[in-house]
């Protein structure tokens, strides 16, 4: 498979006088495959948001390089093409909607690309349909719930027809219902439309649908692998300032007690099946 993102030896340091004068991101090497679903986990200040902003040139590397679909972020003439290919959704749902009407906000990106009005209309309608917000297309954004606002923000990115979407803690400010809406929508985008998804979060539960889980701590990657690989290393997760989902916590303790379970199941149903299997197997 082809890589959409190539990161080589990336280091980024904020200006010396800022409180985070140590390197926010240090010596990162990372490739992201086209069409994959990657979750990047880390506590606040682990460097994960800085990494996100380095991906589309909002920040430029102090050392090393980032390229998106072969385009280097340091080359200024690439920047619009990179931002079109790699869309970004942020944490605060209120602060990324520009216009006063939902459908006009979704049109904002394509309008900046200078597309024909008929093409913009087509893309806006289809993006709203994809995130299931068509019935709110004339609504004022401030009347929507947090989850709906984030879906509008997603539609605004989709209308630019990106190949990759990076979401920086998109659910941190949402209630459980909104969180579910957003996670379901991005999972669908990945599975049905083949869009590469990079989800940055500190909710480990959200890693459930990921092909690949990356853990960041102090600006470095401390784990990288499948959900099972990463979640079975509980020591590493606690050290990275993260909390195991309760289901995984339960499975890990059972494993320590000698039960034959693999502690990588997040949903209650899957975890229960795993426990059931171990109990019935009678391997104690």
């Amino acid at each position: 498979m082809q890589n959409i993102i190539e990161i080589n030896n990336l280091t980024f340091q904020y200006d010396g006088d800022s409180p985070n004068s140590s390197a926010a991101v240090e010596g990162i090497n990372l490739q992201i495959e086209k069409g994959s679903f990657t979750v990047i986990l880390g506590h606040n200040g682990s460097g994960k948001s800085t990494l996100a902003k380095l991906l589309n040139g909002l920040l430029l590397p102090t050392e090393g390089s980032v390229s998106v679909d072969g385009l280097l972020t340091t080359d200024e003439k690439n920047i619009f093409e990179i931002r079109r290919k790699l869309g970004m959704v942020f944490q605060n749902p209120d602060n990324q909607i520009v216009c006063t009407v939902v459908e006009e906000d979704v049109a904002f990106g394509p309008e900046n690309l200078g597309l024909e009005p008929s093409e913009i209309r087509k893309r806006v309608d289809s993006a709203l349909e994809t995130v299931d917000m068509t019935e709110y297309r004339f609504a004022a954004p401030d009347r929507l719930s947090g989850g709906q606002k984030q879906r509008v923000a997603l539609a605004g990115i989709l209308a630019m027809e990106p190949e990759c979407i990076v979401l920086d803690e998109p659910t941190a400010m949402l209630d459980p219902k909104g969180r579910k809406e957003v996670i379901e929508t991005i999972t669908r985008l990945n599975k049905e439309k083949g869009i590469t998804v990079i989800l940055i979060t500190h909710f480990m539960e959200e890693a459930e649908n990921a092909d690949r889980v990356i853990v960041m701590d102090s600006g470095k990657i401390t784990a990288d692998g499948s959900l099972f690989d990463v979640f079975s290393n509980t020591g590493l997760i606690v050290n990275a300032g993260l909390a195991l989902p309760q289901s995984v916590e339960l499975l890990s303790v059972l494993k320590q007690k000698g039960f034959n379970v693999k502690p990588g199941y997040i949903s209650p149903k899957a975890a229960a099946k795993e426990i059931y299997r171990a109990l019935k197997g009678g391997t104690l």
């Binding site: 409180p19 506590h43 606040n44 200040g45 944490q91 719930s145 947090g146 941190a172 400010m173 209630d175 459980p176 219902k177 909104g178 500190h202 300032g241 993260l242 909390a243 989902p245 309760q246 289901s247 916590e249 339960l250 303790v253 059972l254 007690k257 209650p268 149903k269 975890a271 229960a272 099946k273 426990i275 059931y276 109990l279 104690l284």
Partner: protein, 289 residues
Amino acid sequence: MSEILKTEDLVFSYNNGSPVKRAAINKVSFTLKKGETLGIIGHTGSGKSTLVQTLNGLIKPESGTVFLDGEDLWKNPKQVYQKRFRVGLVFQYPEYQLFEETVYKDIAFGPKNMGLSEEEIDFRIKKYISLLGLNLNYLEKSPFDLSGGEKRRVALAGILAMEPEVLVLDEPTAGLDPVGRENLFKAIELYKKERSAAVIIVSHSMEDLARLSDKLLVMNLGEAKMFGTVEEVFARYEELSKMGLDVPVVTKILLELKALGLNVNTKAFTPAQAIKNIELLLKEGDINA
């Protein structure tokens, strides 16, 4: 212990007197004793935020009464202001209300409004910044230079320094990472123990509430649908599920195991309890229901 806070049939609606009048809370009653923690559960828009604002008199209920230590909060409307120091309310994202040049001055804002002496204010500031796990050289920093988690702790210190008898927190850990969350809960527990204060926590996390609360209040469409111990409320998981509310993940796992045919006791709301129940299952030999 004695009841510190009690509400009786609280009613409040928005747009009162207009055709689009909508009840935000409708006949909400509960009681809270000193040293107890009450968890409030409910969807966004279920009336939780309105309810907590009636408890310190920011919102005057249309009908019904809030009793603070046995006395009607609105008995003398001119003195409701004083009650806000006794029922400390920490809003969601409280770090956004910091405004002073230094952490010291910001924490002092509440105590100053209470009219405390300089020495007493100084004493409390130092006490509560330490209780929140920040050292004293934070006091001269600007609150705007701190990290998100630190700002949140400073904001909480500003309320704790008023030494409220009832501490009310509206989603205190929203947006915090797990470490920040643990720090905050630790501080709340410490404060509660030291002052034998009553605590009310509004949260979406059933796991957090299961471990912190003595009692739970379930709000739905402005009404108090359930009020009881953690065990009593989570035992009614079917009703909760109908309201679109959850039970803790471990409880769900046990319920799934039961559905798979195992004879497991589903009364467990923390991982430790759940493990005990699963182990018990093996000891009893016959695991099938």
